[in-house]
Symmetry: C2
């Protein structure tokens, strides 16, 4: 089981990684790195930065510690401009001219804010239990009702975490449905933990669920269920 | 019915407007304006800008034309830094020190991108049919699967549109649940129309639904249902 999980993670890395994860070197696919290519910056944005609160740093360190025996894996993520990968994505976006124009500026949505202003997060996958955990700190640009995160910002991190859990399980996949119950508002700047898991697999369909809890696990902020569908490389999306 | 709707919209303006809508002058609460206050910029971001495509401009003009007889109302929106309104929001965020620190940089999530990069949108409320329409152009920073909008970006605009529809109907409200069916991916840069409506009111609960269609209305991209709950000013959220 453990070997199978690591194998899936390595395969994703060789294929170029999930959306938002830039191509990684074959030798050590999960090590953080930075390249000053003129077009693509391979900077892992899921590592601690000065905007992270003490709670974020402590949680990150705890999960990195848990990753030492290989049962957990830290999942790096990038802005992914995709300019090196236009050939790969023609299958999903057949109008090459429009694609080039639109994608030249494209950035992964949850990674498109400056440091500390938007979504600060790191994800870890548990290879034994087949689940993904996201530690998340919501910045001041994610406001909805004054002082609290916008429902769309919460939905975004839920979708991103469930999506990563789905991708590790079955490869490239898209959200087909998302059902969220917002139980308590999340204050701006606070740190929460998103726990996601695969509930059922039916062919290309993957059923997942998650919850968002406070760091001390006492407060449940949101719960969600979702359906993801594996993308068929032979099928165009448009 | 028409008078009641306009009255509700005016009352919201006098109260300071819905989240993301800055306080408006009593004389003409719906006219666009700009003030160069050192702290709050009252610039209506739902007006056409150079990043808008021809489709966006045409749709905007069509809805502005429909607004001439008063049956539709253009709903302006702002980044809303809320620095003038800390007294008003203490009821929802009782820790005054933390509130001041967190809210000094706070921006309404869907308005926190630079022009053309994120959410470009304008909303109109139909006072006869009690429904809100949002015309939306998704910028390159909202990417999920390469070439398409992130599920979280779609959820954000759905939540924002349903939220505005709820606010016009019952006053300040928060999302309690959101159920989205993503039927087709939305290409980056395309323009879509979000049609939302109130389905049922039960005390403080408001049930709404919406769909996202292409400009020619032939393609249904997403459908959603939701429950919003009216906020009680006497109840603290934390």
């Amino acid at each position: 089981m453990l070997r199978s999980c690591v194998s899936r993670l390595r395969m994703l890395a060789v294929l170029g990684g999930p959306p938002g994860v830039a191509p990684l070197p074959a030798k050590d696919p999960w090590s953080p790195r930075r390249s000053f290519s003129s077009e693509v910056i391979h900077m892992d944005l899921s590592l601690p930065n000065p905007s992270w609160s003490e709670d974020m740093r402590l949680l990150f360190d705890q999960f990195m510690k848990k990753s030492e025996d290989g049962s957990w894996k830290h999942l790096p993520s990038y802005k992914s401009k995709f300019t090196q990968r236009t050939e790969d994505i023609k299958i999903y976006f057949p109008d090459a001219k429009l694609m080039k124009e639109k994608l030249s500026q494209a950035q992964l949505f949850p990674r498109s804010f400056e440091e500390g202003l938007g979504f600060e997060y790191a994800m870890f996958h548990n290879c034994v239990e087949d689940r993904t955990v996201c530690i998340f700190q919501g910045g001041p640009y994610l406001q909805g009702v004054p002082g609290f995160l916008h429902g769309g910002a919460i939905a975004t991190m839920i979708d991103a975490t469930l999506g990563m859990c789905a991708i590790v399980a079955i490869g490239f996949a898209m959200t087909a449905s998302l059902n969220i119950s917002f139980k308590r508002p999340i204050p701006l700047g606070s740190v929460v933990v998103i726990n996601s898991q695969v509930d059922k697999v039916e062919g290309r369909k993957l059923f997942l669920s998650c919850n968002i809890r406070s760091v001390d696990e006492k407060t449940v902020y949101s719960e969600a269920t979702s359906l993801f569908v594996k993308l068929d490389p032979k099928t165009r999306l448009t």
